[in-house]
Chain length 401, copies 2
């Protein structure tokens, strides 16, 4: 398996979810400055996926910010969402945008790189450097495509654990992430309770609901309905551009809120003064979505989209336990669970339920519902509200030792 | 234009929204018994669409239930939703299901055909008999396709008005409908305030929001992304089956509620005991959606789907007035506005806002939010809760004269 090849690094657009969610992109390089990803080979004998398939070695692309202290107890792992990657903060040479959580990670920021050593890795199954269906099979010279094993959140976490160990870290000061990243946070606290000293799951859920599965399934069907998908074998072609764009558009609606869309677009029309009375784009919200769909196609691999959405749908933290409280019975770390009032993809009630189960298991969980009109995307946008809470929570964890 | 040809009457599946939303379909013909649609030609000189295009004559397919009394003041118009048609009640010969509102229309039912004369027509632009993009252009022998003029809710209503007049009816006792049908109800009260004596808009909105436009736009993009759509020219082929199925799946999620889907499907798996760990269908909700998508393709024309969703998006009752209260200033009829607690496609707040604007204009509006887990589909399912309210409202209207 060749780590240097992956399907979706053409552009510096690997933010968490929405394309360009920040109204005003920064114009100059600041904070962490230029950062560079690294890639490591793990599991030389092959990684055993949750499905039972053994496959590997596995390559993992990651970035680190700040310095690991001598006692190696200041490391924090941040976990990206569906369409994100290792590039969480700082700038890549020549790119127009910083990493997806640059507002939160850097000198003097919440994840303060003057104090902490922040690690961020691309998930396996996705397409930002780590092994996935777009990786090249050395035996054929073509991407693995659907020959790549199906991936679960637990698989992603098991690989992250090996990465963290390879960096000499036995215990993480904290682990944080929104959306799919939040699921990884939860899986860590259950799979490796002795290796995590605090946990910050944001805008997430402990299991995918029927509605969440349904949205992902429609998006996958859109990809697979495109003849250019060709059962996952589109190497050397443009691939299912139309299908993937539609799939992304479905998802994108779920990242925004009814009110947020109303505030941003309402019924504003494109350049025409009156309705076009034709099937072309009349409303601003239509062309916005079309842009989101088509720009996603330039930066993401269609098979990875299928794999990662499927991993989300498989996620059910309680599945191998009597109940979720039972899952948390060995988990001793404190939780800071953050939800956003207008997030209807992973609504506050689902986040609150995480905190309730942790408490039922005798654990320590703070739940905070931040008021926001940004919907699910708020976890990337409402940094001013999140920042002080997270800073204080991390400081408390560090003091506790 | 030839009215006998239309793209989507292959099956008796023209219910309001969801396929087979009734848990237990009736097994025997009762109520109104066998009913037959009729078709009338209107606007022999051509109908002037809201876009300014003159086109026609226009054919309208409709059904009537009950008897028009001598004073012709017992007529009620019911208006169908996105994927419905004229067949609102009773049974078509040989079909397995009655009309989409058979629970509400018939002898002794809410729209009591022993008392009232109920009229139901297929909208222009759609594909259940009335003129639309699937109608055959007599000059070419092929469907009009995208040559058919773009249609608005107001166009649909103007054609309904001509139909009702052709039946000798000057004033409707009432007009009722859910979803898109509710928009027609509202448009009637504003465009023809002297011809409506009461109005029952259900699970609807007075203007499509950005989020509603967004969902429709994704569904349209799914259709248009299918190469088999061929810019609307798929005569003699199977047409964009994959794209239309995906488009319908998008819509279908919005017809159900988070809780309703959780109750019905949860994370229940298909036949396999464990996760399949592949891209095929694992969860029941996935195969349910796939079924909804593919069965819709058998009964609906893809171009009509584009036209009718576009008509929904264009809908903004307040657009030609200073504000919505101003739109209702000539409207004297009482309103019964019904919403459903878990409907997030046309949420209760949007329905309530209708009632508030009517009152602000000095009118009489009752607003009722029915508690239901069925989401938007509730307007077709919660007949036990709707029925007594509507019966009483109609009786009061009839007494008032």
């Amino acid at each position: 398996m060749n780590a240097e090849l992956s399907g979706c690094e053409k552009e510096d657009l690997a933010d968490g979810l929405s394309e360009n969610p920040m109204p005003e992109a920064k114009q100059e390089i600041d904070g962490l400055g230029i950062v560079k990803p690294q890639t490591v080979e793990l599991f030389p004998e092959g990684f055993v996926f949750e499905s039972g398939v053994q496959f590997g070695p596995v390559h993992v692309t990651y970035e680190t910010y700040g310095t690991l202290n001598e006692s190696k107890d200041n490391a924090i792992l941040v976990c990206h969402a569906l369409s994100g990657g290792a590039h969480a903060a700082g700038w890549h040479e020549g790119h127009r945008k910083p990493g997806w959580w640059d507002t939160m990670i850097g000198p003097g920021k919440s994840f303060d790189t003057d104090k902490y050593y922040v690690v961020s890795s691309s998930c396996i199954g996705s397409c930002y450097g780590s092994s996935g269906p777009a990786s090249i099979d050395p035996n054929t010279g073509n991407p693995y495509g659907l020959q790549f094993p199906m991936v679960t959140i637990r698989d992603m976490v098991n690989v992250q654990k090996a990465l963290v160990e390879s960096l000499g870290i036995e215990s993480l000061l904290s682990i944080a992430g929104g959306s799919m990243g939040g699921m990884q946070v939860l899986e860590w606290t259950v799979s490796y309770p002795d290796s995590v000293r605090s946990a910050i799951p944001i805008a997430t859920t402990w299991r995918h609901s029927a509605q969440q599965i349904a949205f992902n399934e429609v998006a996958r069907q859109a990809v697979m309905a495109d003849p250019a998908w060709n059962h996952g074998d589109y190497h050397g072609t443009e691939g299912p551009r139309h299908g993937l764009a539609v799939g992304r558009m479905v998802g994108h609606i779920t990242y925004l809120s009814d009110k947020g869309m109303e505030n941003k677009f309402g019924r504003k029309l494109q350049s025409r003064e009156k309705f076009g009375y034709d099937l072309s784009t009349d409303f601003e919200v239509e062309s916005y979505l079309q842009y989101q769909g088509s720009s996603f196609v330039d930066r993401f691999d269609a098979n990875s989209f299928l794999y990662v959405t499927k991993a989300l749908d498989y996620f059910n933290l309680g599945e191998r336990f009597e109940n979720l409280a039972d899952a948390f019975r060995h988990t001793k770390c404190p939780f800071l669970v953050i939800a956003f009032s207008s997030d209807w993809l992973y609504p506050p009630y689902q986040n609150k339920s995480i905190a309730e189960f942790v408490r039922r298991a005798g654990g320590d969980a703070t739940f905070c519902e931040i008021s926001s009109d940004y919907g699910h995307d708020a976890f990337l946008l409402e940094y001013e509200q999140q920042a002080p809470m997270i800073s204080a929570f991390l400081e408390r964890t560090a003091k506790r030792g």
